[in-house]
């Protein structure tokens, strides 16, 4: 295999710039936010993160979806938690998304535009919604 240098990375991406610009223009990208606080990491969020990266990176219509990580989203009991914001769909917080659930979410939510109802946790914890002044 060819050695993957920084220069090789530059060329790989440059070759796709036109295609990337078109995709951004038509708004077909989205964002996946993975909770990776101590609780998320303990529940397997690192494997979930890698599963999303691998599943989307090679997919012609999904490789421009942004993947971010964040701290605890307030649902430690339902980790790993994943918030998905895709154009034309409501922003959804899924819980208990271990790596083996990722293919189902990619197939249903990202590709077919259908919510995976039995994984939805729609309310963040109270302290995220209304910070108490204590």
């Amino acid at each position: 295999m060819t050695k993957l240098t920084l220069e090789a990375l530059r060329k790989l991406r440059a070759a796709k710039q036109d295609e990337m610009a078109r995709r951004e223009a038509d708004g077909s990208s989205g964002t996946i936010l993975i909770g990776m606080g101590t609780c998320g990491i303990a529940a397997g969020a690192r494997e979930t993160f890698d599963a999303f990266v691998r599943a989307l990176a090679e997919h012609p219509t999904l490789k421009r979806v942004a993947i971010r990580q964040t701290g605890c989203m307030g649902l430690c009991y339902a980790e790993p938690t994943v918030e998905i914001a895709m154009p034309g769909m409501p922003t959804v917080l899924y819980g208990r998304v271990k790596a083996d659930v990722v293919p189902q979410i990619v197939e249903e939510h990202l590709l077919k535009g259908r919510l995976v109802n039995d994984r939805i946790f729609d309310k963040p914890a109270v302290d995220l919604m209304k910070p108490r002044k204590s």
Binding site: K3, L4, L6, E7, L9, R10, L12, R13, A14, K16, Q17, M20, S29, M36, G37, T38, I41, A42, R46, F49, D50, F52, V53, R54, A55, L56, A57, E58, H59, L62, K63, R64, V65, A66, I67, R68, Q69, T70, G71, C72, G74, A125, V126, D127, L128, P131, R132, K133, S134
Partner: protein, 182 residues
């Protein structure tokens, strides 16, 4: 308790970002059977009282979750270091930043393995669009350094799945070279 050092370091980088850092440097150095870990940032820093609270698992910074009373990242790391009979130091100054330093014997039976370093590096980079992050491993006179800015420049950003996957593959290759497997 986290299974490997990389999980601890992810927690500590997240703390740095939560503290508003625009620069964080993580270093793991192995020399003559001793592992030395440092995590330094230029975040808002802590007073003496805040430093003590930061080591208490039943306290958190209180900015992200104002009503929460649990914060485990730093206490877990301290617990690990104490468990292996290591040395731990937390230096912090308001307005300047925070440095965490730990060292312990690599051959202690409870010393955690480094873990999946390349994946950890890329996962940490997905925490922030702007901050510079430097990840360094040293083994004797061999040094392996990855800078977020270099990867982001080469890939035109590190936000999307394709860029993150290419970054992961690149870091993994360089890391295997560092380990002598390349």
């Amino acid at each position: 308790m986290h299974p490997t050092l990389t999980e601890h370091l992810l927690d500590l980088v997240q703390n740095a970002m939560d503290a508003g850092a625009t620069f964080v440097e993580v270093s793991v150095a192995e020399e003559e059977g001793t592992i030395t870990v440092t995590v330094s940032d230029n975040g808002r820093g802590m007073t003496k009282a805040e430093r003590q609270k930061a080591l208490d698992p039943f306290q958190s910074g209180g900015r992200k979750h104002p009503a929460r009373r649990v914060g485990l990242g730093l206490p877990f790391f301290l617990q690990m270091v104490e468990q292996v009979g290591g040395h731990f130091d937390l230096r912090s100054e308001p307005g300047v930043g925070t440095s965490i330093l730990a060292s312990y014997r690599a051959d202690h039976p409870d010393a955690p393995p480094v873990g999946e370093w390349p994946e950890g590096v890329v996962q940490a980079m997905a925490l922030s669009d702007q901050a510079e992050m430097v990840f360094r491993r040293t083994r004797g006179d061999r040094v392996f350094t990855i800078r977020r800015s270099e990867l982001a420049e080469a890939l035109g950003g590190l936000a999307d799945a394709e860029a993150l996957d290419l970054a992961r593959r690149y870091v993994r290759e360089r890391h295997e070279e560092f380990l002598g497997k390349g």
